[in-house]
Amino acid sequence: MGGKIVTITSGKGGVGKTTATANIGVALAQLGKRVVLIDADIGLRNLDVVMGLENRIVYNLVDVAEGRCKLRQAMIKHKLLPDLHLIPASQTRDKSAVSQSDMIQVSDWLRPEVDFVLIDSPAGIERGFRNAIAPADEVLIVTNPEVSAVRDADRIIGLLEAAGKGPGKLVLNRIRQDMVQKGEMLSADDVTDILAIKMIGIVPEDQFVVPASNKGVPVVLNEESRAGLAYHNIARRLNGENVPFLPLEEEDGFLRKLTRLFSGGNQLLKQG
């Protein structure tokens, strides 16, 4: 049997695929799982910098596919988590350097050695995406609560179903509960209602995410971060645990304070 191959994709670029891959990978490793992350975005590699491993790259996925190195030689060990490895993409080649059967071959080599292989898919619906989903046992679709991102997610769900990989599970990223409450942002319920697939995680917009990527330290390693906690919960769900969804309210948000004020009754209201 062996490990599970999970591909993270989105259709639209810039919704947080690479950040999600890095964080779910780190969180799975924190749970004691053996994890390999594969950057399948040949020519536009990014997972190495998000992971803070960019200065350790010698070989990459294309070198493995073309037989220039052994699989082991292309696996970069994480600084803090020895059971977490990254196989980086090539930065100088393009999507045609890797085929679907290469991806299946690499995944088959890894399967007996690890618990999870996470594949970071490139944006789009062309060859790179096809390569990334070819070996997948499970697919996570990352989207944002915005019209264009949800539309592209719907297209991806259709393509996954056609490829026999569907329907996949949804990661709703960058949600702002204050805006949802004002009716100015699609809610998690709206998005599940529209896309009609299962949700595996709801990640709030979080001020710690950008500094984390600046430093190359995935936000899941920051215990203060609610986005980090959300990624941690996704990892646990992937691992088969039944974890309830986070309450999305900002702990000390303005609205939360007001709600508390009103639920306190009329006396408080008069003071306010």
């Binding site: 949800v150 539309r151 719907d154 259709g158 009716g183 699609l186 319920d189 709206d190 529209i194 709600t259």
Partner: protein, 99 residues
């Protein structure tokens, strides 16, 4: 009181009233068209053929016919509104004659 709560955004239910409502509406529209994946010509041909069939049985007021794509609960629907008048002479016999 209600006015105050409303102004503070506490009475407004999520997804209603604000721009999220139009996002949802627009998405439903766009996805219906993405999902049906038919060109305008094909859609037009489909409408004509459906009308042809109905016209064999009843008199259709063809200038008031309306076809729409709609999303209801989990279903994508083709909704046809076809006003008809009863005066089609011999409408009831058509099926028997041809069949």
């Amino acid at each position: 009181m209600a006015g105050l709560l409303e102004r503070l955004g506490l009475l407004k239910r999520a997804g209603r009233g604000g721009s999220a409502a139009s996002a949802k509406e627009r998405l439903h529209f766009v996805l219906l068209h993405d999902r049906i994946d038919l060109s305008p010509e094909e859609l037009d041909r489909m409408k004509k053929e459906i009308l042809e069939v109905i016209s064999r049985y009843v008199a259709v007021e063809s200038d008031r016919v309306d076809f729409a794509l709609e999303h209801r609960r989990r279903d994508n629907l083709i909704v046809a509104e076809v006003p008809f008048s009863k005066q089609k002479t011999g409408a009831g016999q058509v099926g028997r004659e041809t069949g």
